[in-house]
């Protein structure tokens, strides 16, 4: 037993000879403020940076939250702009829906059609319905290239008058200022 005690004593001396390799205070306490909840405690350095879960959780939370908020704001802005912006119809305009043949020049004034969630409800206004607008555009392009008029089959869409007869749509305001 005394032999074991001697060995333990020597092991104790060896034990106390070990020292932390570095300056713990310098590694953990920095002058940079990283937030009041961390009390000026910086991230651990070295291999512990990956293993320590104390601050990485906060980082992931903020990164995820910020990313989600940015994505939601982008989608919202896109939806808002697409539902309220007037879509200019005419060759050469940025919002032109069809690929116009190159070299064509627009004839007549540019028509600006306000976009609405349901264009059928505007059928009794001065703006022609979507089908008619497209037909006008196609005829215009056709006359520019060869004068051939393309005629679609009669539209089966309900007119504004028809819609006004439908009881669930009577309360809607069809005329826009």
């Amino acid at each position: 037993m005394s032999n074991l005690r001697d060995q333990l004593d020597r092991a104790q001396a060896e034990y106390h000879s070990a020292a932390y390799p570095g300056d713990l205070a310098g590694e953990l306490l920095t002058l940079r403020l990283t937030g009041s909840d961390t009390q000026n405690i910086a991230r651990p350095v070295g291999s512990s940076a990956a293993s320590s879960g104390v601050l990485t959780k906060n980082r992931w939370f903020w990164a995820t939250g910020t990313g989600s908020a940015a994505a939601a704001a982008l989608v919202g802005a896109f939806i808002l702009s697409s539902s309220t912006t007037d879509i200019p119809v005419g060759p050469g305009s940025a919002g032109y829906l069809f690929s116009a043949p190159s070299g064509l020049t627009p004839r007549g004034p540019m028509v600006s059609v306000p976009a609405t969630p349901n264009p059928w409800l505007l059928s009794n206004t001065t703006v022609p319905p979507a089908g008619d607008r497209f037909q006008l555009e196609r005829n215009r392009n056709a006359s520019a290239v060869g004068g051939i008029q393309m005629v679609d089959a009669p539209s089966t869409r309900p007119t504004g008058k028809d819609l006004s007869l439908q009881p669930h749509l009577r309360t809607l305001e069809y005329d826009r200022p």
Partner: protein, 160 residues
């Protein structure tokens, strides 16, 4: 500033304990840093029932236990952390052999037994302090220490 003083004073004791229990320098360093972070965070809750050293050692041993649960398989022996400025080559040879045997025997102890030996013999803590560090009853410390010494004696005999 007080935090820096505290960390400077405690970094070596924390590291020694973590190294002797984890037996890996890098892991011991990580455990020391994690211990420091927890101590700084929990310091306002320190009631002063025990010494700051004993209280923080308890935190260190909890960190070590958590790291043990998710650590890779052990490498075997305790790394040699002794300084190179030893006495004479013969003494160094004999002592290093004895120390190698003792390290191997310590490595074969259970985690609990190693914790008791480190606290009682290496850190020179009392039975009550060791019980507080290990979060167990003083009677458990005495029993575990008795088993650890008996196992060490047998293992040293076998390995020598």
């Amino acid at each position: 500033m007080a935090q820096a003083v505290l960390l400077s004073a405690m970094q070596d004791p924390w590291f020694r304990m973590c190294l002797s229990l984890l037996r890996d320098v890098e892991q011991a360093r990580d455990a020391t840093q994690e211990t420091a972070l927890r101590v700084l965070r929990l310091l306002p809750e320190f009631r002063g029932d025990s010494s700051l050293s004993t209280w923080s050692m308890g935190i260190a041993i909890n960190v070590v236990r958590e790291m043990r649960r998710k650590r890779r398989p052990e490498t075997g022996e305790v790394p040699d952390v002794a300084p190179d400025n030893a006495v004479s080559p013969d003494d160094v040879a004999i002592r290093s052999e004895q120390q190698r045997v003792l390290r191997a025997a310590l490595g074969e102890l259970s985690d609990r037994q190693r914790e008791v030996v480190v606290c009682r013999y290496f850190e020179e803590k009392s039975t009550e302090e060791t019980a507080e560090i290990m979060n167990c009853a003083p009677g458990t410390v005495k029993a575990t220490l008795h088993q650890a010494l008996r196992a060490l004696k047998n293992k040293v005999k076998m390995l020598a």
